[in-house]
Symmetry: C2
DNA sequence: AAATAAATTTGATCCACATCAAATATTTCA
DNA sequence: TGAAATATTTGATGTGGATCAAATTTATTT
């Protein structure tokens, strides 16, 4: 976890810092630190006192909750340019674990620092609220799906979403660009790895998807979309 | 929907305006309007351009989403002192319908006004983020429950939560203080009114609950808590 | 008070998916 | 390279709860 040289231009494309002038970005950058997180490394742990908030520069982080009875739930995959651990600023502790699924580089700030930055530059707070709003919408979609839709549809939706967030074009379709297990997909969609495996097997024999160990290629997005129906709308802004 | 005389002291106990001085509260109040909403009245509708945000003074409002295929989902019951329609400030439109389940009195502000207030008094933005954070936690709990728990447990949890938020002590227990149908409970917990009815019947014959049409009394909270297990933690602050 | 509408209860049936149980790949490590 | 660990696939079985279908109770309207 080495320190790296921070560069204010990194913040420019981030939604949380949209609309800030160069001086403000400079101030934000000066208060943050950059560091490297190796694959498998833990950024923060569920329940710990929240002392930091984070922006991902490169790599992929997964946020995972564990219930009292040991059930795992995969809350989100964080990609470059996205913030994480922000929510914890306003709660007692981190609501989940943050683990790097690939080698990653992040910026981090102390919670106090970020709160002060928000008070100094209220635009950061406004941007953060918009981000929290989107996450609320996502979760509401998830609740709705769990309440009313069958597993196959939920898995199709999750996969399409991953493809558009972290897809890489390959010869036969779009590949999820980081290691993704059947177990991960199960935890994202509220089912078991067995059911996910069966679904993917069926899709594979119909030519909708391909893949191997911890790796999935979406071959026919349209067909998946037809299954998902409840379409992942392209996010504005 | 008559206009009522606004009184800044109404804002004092509200979380959104915590930590503001008298002058700030005065300013907030001056920009808002009070009005009465009759039982069954609609405050805003899903999909409409979001132009207002709201605080409930008295009564009870339910927020309900309708899916494309007509499925209903009950997102939350709003009680006195709580804000609603706040999220819409940061989204394209209102994510759901807001309907009064009892005669209600609310304050409302235009979105632009509230955004300006937030920029002027960043503490409002900080408070709002904390509230959004709590709602995110709630939704994550709901997703976790839908993913991993049986219906009976989810219904027990929902009922206990309603009892602590809107319970009124009666001779034989704690009564939910507003009309609540089996259908409502079903939409809150991702099941059908039939299943909720069966569960309540079973509880009633075991003496855990009592109730009638659109009305439920929790007779043995401890027994329900044992069923819910995944305990609703009393919210701090 | 009778007629209509809305909410609730209860029974019977069915199936999507969890669970139980192994076998088979694939990767990592000694 | 062989052994151990980790992922994945696939089969067999059971069940929680949805769905279909009425009957019953309670509230509202005329």
């Amino acid at each position: 976890m080495d320190k790296l040289k921070p560069d204010p231009s990194l913040l420019k494309p981030m939604r949380m810092f949209a609309g800030l002038d160069a001086a403000a970005l400079q101030a934000v950058m000066e208060h943050g630190q950059a560091r490297h997180v190796p694959k498998g490394g833990t950024v923060f742990k569920q329940g710990d006192q929240a002392t930091t908030c984070h922006a991902l520069i490169d790599g992929r982080i997964k946020i995972q909750h564990t219930t009292l009875d040991g059930q795992q739930m995969l809350v989100q995959f964080v990609g470059p340019g996205e913030m994480y651990g922000t929510l914890a600023m306003f709660l007692a502790g981190y609501p989940g674990d943050a683990v790097a699924v690939t080698d990653s580089v992040e910026l981090l700030w102390s919670v106090d620092t970020m709160k002060n930055l928000m008070l100094t530059y209220p635009q950061i707070a406004m941007n953060t609220m918009a981000m929290l709003g989107d996450r609320l919408e996502d979760l509401q979609t998830r609740v709705r799906q769990l309440s009313t839709q069958r597993v196959e549809r939920r898995v199709a939706y999750a996969l399409l979403r991953l493809a558009q967030q972290a897809g890489r074009a390959v010869s036969d379709g779009v590949e999820i660009s980081f290691p993704l297990s059947r177990q991960d997909l199960a935890e994202m969609t509220g089912t078991t790895l067995h059911t996910v495996s069966r679904i993917l097997s069926a899709w594979e024999s119909d030519g909708l998807t391909a893949g191997g160990r911890q790796q999935i290629v979406v071959v026919k997005p349209d067909a998946l979309l037809a299954i998902a129906e409840d379409l992942p709308r392209p996010k504005p802004c």
